[in-house]
C-alpha cells in the first residue's frame, strides 16, 4: 500500500502553497459563529455612546449634564473637562498632529465627539444622548481646501502657525505641511523643452472604506491586578497597546489588546479613535467593562475617510509618445485634524509612486496638506498609503496625453513601460521597483479581450450614435498599475516610531501538528488559510494540522498589523523564515535518528531522506515526536522558532485591467459588459483566495468610481450619511469578473510573494473611470471627475452637446 503513495500525493496531502485550499475561517463566518467586538459580553458591562456635534464649526458655550444624568441607568457623562486632568482630552495622531478626543472648547466637523455617555445599556445611553444640553455658537464653515488657504478663519486655534508642524513649516494657519519629492527645476525644464505637454486637473473625491462591521471596543480595567484588557476593531493591535501604554501611563505588560474577528477593515481600523480612549477611561473611572460600538452613520461621518485629493498634473512627451517628464501637485484635504495613517516620514504616503509603470526620467511631486471642517482621516482604503490616488493620477494622465497625441492609449503605455531588463528599476521619485514584466502582461491582457476588435466595435458605435441609431456609447477602460506594498523597511518606514517589521512564532506539537502566531491580523483576507499553506510547504506538516493565531498581544509576537497589503510581504516572509528555522533543527534531529551526518539528509516534501537513499527517511511528524521525547546530544528539546522580518525593500505587484462599458447618454446609466483583470502578485499562495480578493477589490473600485462618496454641503453637513446614499454595490451592480495572471516573483522575498489584496482596488478605480471617460473621447472629452454616477454622466454628456 505504502509504495503506491507518490511524491505528488504527498505534496497534495500537505495542502501547501499553490493549492486552492478552502478558507478555514468560513465554517464559522457562514454559520454566524464569528466572534466580533460586539459579540463580547462581560458581566456588569456598561455601554458608551457619543453626543456628537450637529455643526461643522462652532464654539461650545456650555454643556449641562443635569438632564442626561437624571436618566435612570446613566452612570457617567464625560466631557473634555473630565479628560483634561488625565491629559486625555487630546490624543496624538499617526501623522504627528493631535486630535481632540472630546471637543475642547469648539467643534471642527459635523459628527465630532462632544461627550461620552456611559449607561447600563445602549438604549439608555441613546436616550441620554438626546438629553445632554450642549449650547453652540456657530462659526464660519470651510469645506474647500483652496478656500481654507485663503481664509482668515482660523480652524485650529490650538496651533501656532509660526511653529513648524510634524512635517516642516506651515504657510498659513489652515496649512498643515508641504511635502516635495523629485527635482522640480529639472522637471519644469523638461516641460519647457517638450514637444508635447498635456495638463489636467482632477479631483479624487472623498470616500470611506465602510467595512460591514463598524468600529468599536470593549475596555475592562481590572483594578485588583492593575491589568487593562482592550478588545477592539484594530488592524494593528500591538501598536494600539504601545500607544495605550504611552498615553495612559499603564505599563505595557499590564495592557492586553485583543483584535477578535474583524468584519472588514480596508484601512478604517488602522487609526486610534476617541471611542477607544473613552471606553478605556470610562472603564477606569467606573471599574466596570465598557463597550463602545458606533453605528453606521457614525462610522460614515466620523471615523477615517479616504482620498479627498485635488491633483494637478503635467506630463510631457515627444511627438512619438515617449514620456519625458511628470509634474504633480496635490492639495490634500485632511479635514479638521491630520490623522492620516501613513508611515511617519511620508505625509502623503507613497503618492510618489505616481510615475506608475512607466520609465519617466524626470519627475516632481508636491503635496500641500490643508485643514477644513470635515472629519479627520485620510486612510488608505484598500490600498497601500495613497497608492490608489497615485495610480489613478498617472492612469488618467496617460489617457489625457494619448488624447493630446491623438494616439491609442494602449500603445502609449506599451512604448513607455519599464522594460523587463530594467529591473530592479530606480524610479525618478525614489522607489526601487523589485521586479516586473509589464509587456508580457499587457500583451496577454489585450489579446484576451481582443483589443483591436473592441476598438473597431467602438468606432462603429460612434458612427451609429452619430447616425441616431443608438443613444449608448461604448467605453474601453484600460489601466496598468504598479503598486508599492509591504511596508516596509524599518530604515525608512515606521509608525509612531515603531519600525514596520513583522513577525511569526511557531510551536510544533509532539504529535506533529502546530500553532503559529503572527503580528498581523486578518479582517477577511484569510490568513488562517494562507499562512498555514506557507508553513505546510516550508515545514512539511499538513496545513490542516496548523493553527494560525493573530490579534492577542499577550500571545502573538509584536507586529505592525495588517494594512497596505503588508501581511504576505512582511509577516508571510517571517512565517517562511521561521519555518526554515524549524526545518534546520528538524534536519539535525533527522540526521541523528537516521544515524548520518546533518549534511547527508535532505528535505523532501514532508520528510528528511538520506541523500541517495530515499527509502531511508524520517517524516516531519516523526521528527516532531522525537524533538520532545528523545535526548539528542547537543540539541535542546522542543521544536519552536520565531522570526522577526525587516524587509529589504517593498514589493511591487502589478496588473493589467480592461473594462468594457456601455454608457446611456440620456439617463447616465452605465452597464459594465466585461471586466478582465490580470494580476501579477508574484508567487501565488492560494489561487482561490486571490480570486476572492480580486473580486472584492474590484467591487470596491466599482463603488468608488461609479458613485461612492462622502459629500458635504456648504454648511459642512454630511449628505451621504446612510447606506441609502452612500453607494455599496450589491451582487446586482457587480459584473462577472474574468481573472487572469502572470507570475513574476519578488526577488527579495523568501517565497517570492508580493501581496494582492489591494491591487484590484488600486488598478480597478482608474479602469472603471477610464471606461467612462473613454466613451466620450470621440466627442471631445478629455477628463471628467469621479464619481461617475448617473447625474454626473448626464451632465458630462450635456456639456458635450449630446442632448441637443
Amino acid at each position: 500500500m505504502k509504495d503506491d503513495i507518490t511524491r505528488e500525493d504527498r505534496v497534495d496531502a500537505l495542502g501547501g502553497m499553490g493549492c486552492k485550499r478552502k478558507r478555514v475561517e468560513d465554517a464559522r463566518f457562514t454559520q454566524g459563529k464569528g466572534n466580533y467586538v460586539d459579540d463580547i459580553k462581560l458581566p456588569g458591562m456598561l455601554f458608551g455612546d457619543f453626543v456628537r456635534s450637529p455643526y461643522a464649526h462652532a464654539r461650545i458655550t456650555s454643556i449641562n449634564k443635569e438632564a442626561a444624568l437624571a436618566i435612570d441607568g446613566v452612570v457617567a457623562v464625560l466631557t473634555a473637562e473630565d479628560l483634561a486632568p488625565l491629559g486625555l482630552h487630546w490624543m496624538p495622531t499617526l501623522a504627528g498632529d493631535k486630535q481632540m478626543v472630546l471637543a475642547d472648547g469648539k467643534v471642527l466637523f459635523q459628527g465630532q465627539e462632544v461627550a461620552f455617555i456611559v449607561a447600563k445599556d445602549r438604549y439608555v445611553a441613546a436616550d441620554a444622548v438626546e438629553m445632554l444640553d450642549v449650547q453652540y455658537e456657530e462659526l464660519p464653515v470651510i469645506t474647500d481646501p483652496y478656500e481654507a488657504l485663503q481664509s482668515d478663519v482660523v480652524l485650529r486655534e490650538d496651533l501656532d502657525t509660526n511653529v513648524p508642524g510634524a512635517h516642516g513649516p506651515r504657510k498659513h494657519h489652515n496649512h498643515i505641511f508641504t511635502w516635495e519629492v523629485g527635482d522640480e527645476p529639472a522637471t519644469n525644464q523638461v516641460m519647457d523643452d517638450a514637444e508635447v505637454v498635456a495638463e489636467e486637473s482632477m479631483y479624487y473625491h472623498r470616500t470611506h472604506p465602510c467595512p460591514l462591521e463598524t468600529c468599536g471596543s470593549v475596555a475592562s480595567m481590572d483594578k485588583i491586578n492593575g491589568k487593562l484588557t482592550l478588545w477592539g476593531t484594530f488592524q494593528a493591535p500591538h501598536v494600539v497597546r504601545t500607544v495605550a501604554s504611552m498615553l495612559s501611563g499603564i505599563e505595557e505588560h499590564n495592557i492586553r489588546v485583543v483584535s477578535p474577528d474583524i468584519g472588514g477593515g480596508f484601512g478604517n481600523k488602522v487609526g486610534v479613535y476617541p471611542g477607544y480612549i473613552c471606553s478605556i477611561v470610562a472603564s477606569i473611572v467606573t471599574g466596570k467593562p465598557v463597550k463602545w460600538v458606533e453605528d453606521r452613520m457614525e462610522n460614515l461621518m466620523s471615523t477615517a475617510f479616504a482620498r479627498d485629493y485635488w491633483m494637478k498634473g503635467k506630463i510631457s512627451a515627444t511627438k512619438d509618445g515617449k514620456i519625458t517628464g511628470l509634474h504633480c501637485h496635490v492639495t490634500a484635504d485632511h479635514g479638521a485634524f491630520d490623522a492620516c495613517a501613513d508611515p511617519t516620514k511620508f505625509p502623503a504616503g507613497f503618492m510618489n509612486i505616481c510615475t506608475g509603470s512607466y520609465d519617466i526620467p524626470v519627475a516632481y511631486l508636491g503635496v500641500d496638506g490643508v485643514y477644513t471642517n470635515k472629519a479627520p482621516g485620510g486612510v488608505s482604503y484598500r490600498c497601500s498609503f495613497r497608492v490608489t490616488e497615485a495610480v489613478y493620477f498617472i492612469e488618467r494622465m496617460i489617457e489625457v496625453l494619448a488624447i493630446k497625441l491623438n494616439m491609442d492609449s494602449a500603445e502609449l503605455r506599451r512604448i513607455n513601460f519599464i522594460r523587463k531588463d530594467q529591473f530592479p528599476y530606480k524610479a525618478a521619485l525614489g522607489w526601487e521597483y523589485d521586479s516586473g514584466d509589464y509587456h508580457t502582461a499587457w500583451d496577454k491582457a489585450l489579446k484576451a479581450v481582443d483589443y483591436d476588435g473592441l476598438r473597431a466595435e467602438q468606432a462603429q458605435r460612434v458612427e451609429d450614435f452619430k447616425a441616431g441609431k443608438t443613444r449608448k456609447l461604448m467605453g474601453v477602460g484600460l489601466s496598468f498599475f504598479t503598486e508599492i506594498v509591504g511596508a516596509g523597511p524599518v530604515k525608512n518606514c515606521d509608525i509612531l516610531g515603531m519600525g514596520m517589521f513583522d513577525s511569526c512564532e511557531i510551536r510544533i506539537h509532539p504529535t506533529g501538528s502546530a500553532i503559529a502566531r503572527l503580528g498581523t491580523i486578518s479582517q477577511g483576507q484569510g490568513h488562517a488559510t494562507t499562512f498555514a499553506q506557507i508553513l505546510a510547504t516550508e515545514i512539511g506538516l499538513p496545513a490542516d494540522s496548523i493553527t494560525i493565531e493573530e490579534g492577542d498581544t499577550d500571545t502573538a509576537p509584536y507586529g505592525l498589523g495588517t494594512y497596505g497589503s503588508r501581511s504576505t510581504p512582511v509577516a508571510g516572509a517571517a512565517t517562511a523564515l521561521a519555518g526554515r528555522k524549524i526545518r534546520a533543527k528538524a534536519q539535525m534531529i533527522a540526521a541523528y535518528l537516521l544515524e548520518v551526518h546533518d549534511s547527508d539528509v535532505e528535505f523532501d516534501v514532508d520528510r528528511f531522506t538520506v541523500k541517495g537513499a530515499p527509502e531511508k527517511f524520517k517524516t516531519m511528524k516523526e521528527i516532531a515526536y522525537a524533538a520532545y521525547n528523545q535526548a539528542i546530544p547537543g540539541l535542546e528539546p522542543g521544536l519552536e522558532a520565531v522570526s522577526y522580518y525587516d524587509p529589504p525593500n517593498m514589493t511591487y505587484p502589478f496588473g493589467a485591467y480592461v473594462c468594457v462599458m456601455d454608457v446611456d447618454v440620456d439617463t447616465g446609466v452605465t452597464d459594465i459588459r466585461r471586466f478582465y483583470a490580470l494580476d501579477d502578485c508574484g508567487t501565488r499562495i492560494n489561487p482561490m483566495i486571490i480570486d476572492g480578493q480580486i473580486h472584492g477589490g474590484l467591487t470596491e473600485a466599482l463603488a468608488v468610481a461609479l458613485g461612492q462618496e462622502i459629500a458635504y454641503d456648504k454648511q459642512g453637513n454630511v449628505k451621504t450619511g446612510t447606506l441609502m446614499d452612500f453607494f455599496l454595490p450589491t451582487a446586482w451592480e457587480v459584473p462577472n469578473y474574468e481573472t487572469d495572471f502572470t507570475v513574476t516573483p519578488s526577488p527579495h522575498h523568501p517565497i517570492g510573494a508580493k501581496g494582492v489584496g489591494e491591487s484590484p482596488h488600486v488598478g480597478g478605480v482608474p479602469c472603471f473611470s477610464n471606461a467612462v471617460n473613454d466613451a466620450f473621447r470621440a466627442f471631445g472629452l478629455t477628463h471628467t471627475n469621479m464619481p461617475h454616477d448617473h447625474w454626473r454622466i448626464w451632465k458630462t454628456a450635456n456639456a458635450l452637446g449630446l442632448h441637443d
Binding site: 439617463t667 447616465g668 451621504t720 441609502m724 450589491t730 448617473h790 451632465k795
Partner: protein, 284 residues
C-alpha cells in the same frame, strides 16, 4: 440608531386597534411591515410612544379578483403581490412595479397598505394606484369611508387619512390594455430617481384611453391627467409622445438631492415616461 422607548401592542382585531388609536391619538401609530416606520423610529425622526402591530389582525391580508374588481388587503406584502398568478393575470403592472421596489428582503416585509399610507413621495405604489384610479378603504371610529388614490396625497407624509383611521384595503377596476412601470434608480434597494406608471388602451390602432402617473418627482405622486389625454385619439407617434411628456413636465416639481439636480430629474422623467409609453403601447 436606537429608537426611543415605546409601548408595543398586538391586538387581534380591528376594534382593538381602533380603541388604542382612540385612546392615544397621534401618540399611537400602526405598524405594518415596518420597513418605512422602523428606520424612521431608529433615526428618531418618528417618535411613536404607542406602536400597534397589525400582524395579528384578521382580514387584512389577501388578494381577490371578482367581477372585474381587484382588492388587495392592506397587509398583503410586496412578495405576495409578486407571487400571485391571479393578480398578475388580472393586472400585470403590479408585479412589474413590485419587482422594482427595494430588494427581496424588504419586499418580504413591506406591505401595500404601508406603502400607500406612508405618504413618502419615494414610494412606488401611490403613483401606481393613481394610475389605476384605485380606491383606498379607511376604517375609523365612524365606520368605513372610501377615498380615491388621486385625492389622497396632500404633501410629503401628509395624507387624507386621519390619525384614528386605518387603511384596510385598496381596490380598483381590472385594468385593460397595455401597461408599463418604468423606474430609474441608482442601485438595488434605492428609491426612484424617476418612475412612471402607464396604462394604455388601444382600439383600431388608436389610443382610446391612457393613464399616467409619476413617482418621486414632487412631494406627492403626480397623476398627470393631461399627459394621458395627450395620447388619446393618437397613434402614439412621436408628436403624441412629445405632447404627453410636455404635459407631464408641466405637472411635476422635482427638487435637487443626491440623485441629481432638477434639470437632470426632468430629463430622466421625460425619458422614463417615453420608455414606459412605448412599452405599454407595444403591449396594448
Amino acid at each position: 440608531m436606537i429608537p426611543a422607548a415605546f409601548e408595543y401592542y398586538r391586538p387581534t382585531d380591528m376594534d382593538g386597534v381602533l380603541a388604542i388609536l382612540a385612546e392615544h391619538g397621534d401618540d399611537a401609530r400602526v405598524l405594518a411591515g415596518g420597513h418605512s416606520l422602523i428606520p424612521m423610529m431608529k433615526l428618531r425622526m418618528a417618535e411613536v410612544p404607542h406602536l400597534i402591530d397589525l400582524q395579528d389582525v384578521g382580514g387584512l391580508k389577501g388578494i381577490t379578483v371578482e367581477g372585474g374588481t381587484i382588492r388587495l388587503g392592506a397587509m398583503t406584502t410586496q412578495t405576495e403581490i409578486i407571487g400571485s398568478d391571479t393578480l398578475t393575470a388580472a393586472a400585470p403592472i403590479l408585479r412589474e412595479a413590485s419587482l422594482q421596489i427595494a430588494d427581496p428582503q424588504v419586499r418580504y416585509m413591506g406591505t401595500i397598505g404601508g406603502n400607500v399610507a406612508n405618504g413618502d413621495p419615494g414610494n412606488d405604489m401611490p403613483g401606481l394606484m393613481q394610475c389605476l384610479d384605485a380606491t383606498f378603504h379607511l376604517i375609523g371610529p365612524d365606520g368605513t369611508r372610501y377615498v380615491a388614490a388621486r385625492d389622497f396625497y396632500e404633501a410629503a407624509y401628509m395624507t387624507d387619512r386621519e390619525d384614528d383611521e386605518v387603511l384596510t384595503a385598496v381596490s380598483f377596476d381590472q385594468p385593460v390594455g397595455g401597461y408599463a412601470y418604468e423606474k430609474q434608480k441608482r442601485k438595488i434597494g434605492d428609491y426612484a430617481t424617476a418612475a412612471a406608471a402607464v396604462q394604455i388602451v388601444k382600439e383600431g390602432g388608436k389610443c382610446t384611453s391612457a393613464s399616467i402617473a409619476m413617482t418621486n418627482l414632487s412631494d406627492t405622486p403626480i397623476y398627470s391627467q393631461e399627459a394621458g389625454a395627450a395620447l388619446v385619439g393618437t397613434v402614439v407617434d412621436d408628436a403624441a409622445m412629445d405632447a404627453a411628456v410636455a404635459a407631464m413636465l408641466g405637472d411635476i416639481d422635482p427638487t435637487e438631492d443626491n440623485r441629481g439636480p432638477i434639470e437632470f430629474k426632468r430629463h430622466v422623467a421625460s425619458l422614463i415616461l417615453r420608455r414606459a409609453i412605448a412599452r405599454a403601447w407595444s403591449r396594448a
